[in-house]
């Protein structure tokens, strides 16, 4: 059902209109009570869309990871206090390229699913390993509950469930 802005490059994932509209609603909610935060949210959204809509190209793994960081901050603004995130330092990333959004789309799919399924806090840890990334999701307030581990490649073909 989600309407999406088409990706600019073959294989580039589209931007979710649902996500964009909800981030805009989040920014609107801060305008009166905290204008600086509203401005920050809009600036982050601008950076997010610029990365995705600048035109056909590939980006470095570090640029794509920065895009994921922007995405996570936007989700944290949408859901205050619900997302703990750990991202790999740029120095640990493989020297590879990706289409814009290749990693973010996989993280978004998994994180969105977890936020929908679990009402409390969600912890996500993205770690560099063997030329790709491992995404670990769990619930810090429910330590006994099983988590989920996904393999996320810088190329879409290398993404899948690990556990």
């Amino acid at each position: 059902m989600d309407q999406r802005i088409p990706g600019d490059l073959a294989g580039a994932p589209p931007v979710s209109v649902h996500f964009v509209n909800n981030v805009l609603a989040t920014a609107a909610s801060y305008i009166e009570e905290d204008p600086d935060t509203a401005r920050d949210v809009l600036a982050e959204l601008g950076a997010f869309l610029t990365h995705r809509l600048r035109g056909p190209r590939t980006v470095s793994s570090a640029d794509e990871l920065e895009h994921v960081a922007v995405y996570v901050r936007l989700e944290q603004a949408r859901f205050p206090g619900r997302i703990d995130a750990e991202l790999p330092p740029p120095g640990e990333l493989p020297a590879t390229t990706a289409v814009p959004g290749a990693v973010q789309a996989s993280v978004s799919e998994a994180l969105g699913r977890w936020l929908g399924q679990h009402p409390g806090r969600v912890r996500m840890a993205l770690r560099a390993r063997n030329g790709g990334l491992d995404l670990q999701l769990d619930r810090p307030d429910e330590p006994g509950e099983p988590g989920e581990r996904l393999r996320i490649g810088f190329q879409p073909d290398n993404t899948g469930t690990l556990a």
Partner: protein, 254 residues
Amino acid sequence: MSSGLAILAVDDEPRALTDIKRLLETSASVERVATATSAKEALVFLSGGRYDALFLDVAMPEIEGMALARLLRRFADPPAVVFLTGHPDAAVEAFEVQALDFLVKPVSRERLESALSRVEQHVRGAEAAKAGPTGDGAADAATGPDVVAVDNPKGGGKRLVRLETISFAQANGDYARIVCDDGRFLLRTPLSQLEKDWGASGFARVHRAYLVNLKHAVELRAQLNGTAVLIMRDDTEIPVARRNVAALRRRLHA
């Protein structure tokens, strides 16, 4: 309606809920706003008090807004539903569950006031209907739908079109081609059915192939052969069949 509206806003996104709550609270037509972060919580509110309308997020965990709207239709006296969403495509489904309106987040003040105006009309209609069949509610109940879902040539989905923006519908086999402010769209409904559905909204069958919104008509021009041509706001000329001319003239002069 003796006082302002009582609204229950439901959204799992706390910031979006904050935004719509603030907008609602600062509207002159709203007296009371309650908020819930899930459909379950909304049901608790509904069991404990009377609300004129729900402003309901479509995408929520567990019970989605659309499912809650379907559930509400089983209530004896359900509140009106206005959907809030970041999914523009959900409009078609909202139409199917008879939602009063459909707002895409973030909501503008103007759009919100338009939705609240519809809620007020709905509440007045419901109160009049309760008062008796001769009240205003009978007239409201006689009016047709306010929006229609048409095939969207861009993207292949559905698009909602307000009846008031439609200039005319033209028969196209078992389909109808509608011409409105936003363009031309195909509707999978025969003109004869549209005539029944839209008659109470000011549409008139002026020709075997044309159903016209008379609010968009500006001139009825008689022809020498007894037929006529109806001139629309955009200068489109619609043929009027000979047998319909007299009735149309009476209706336009009424």
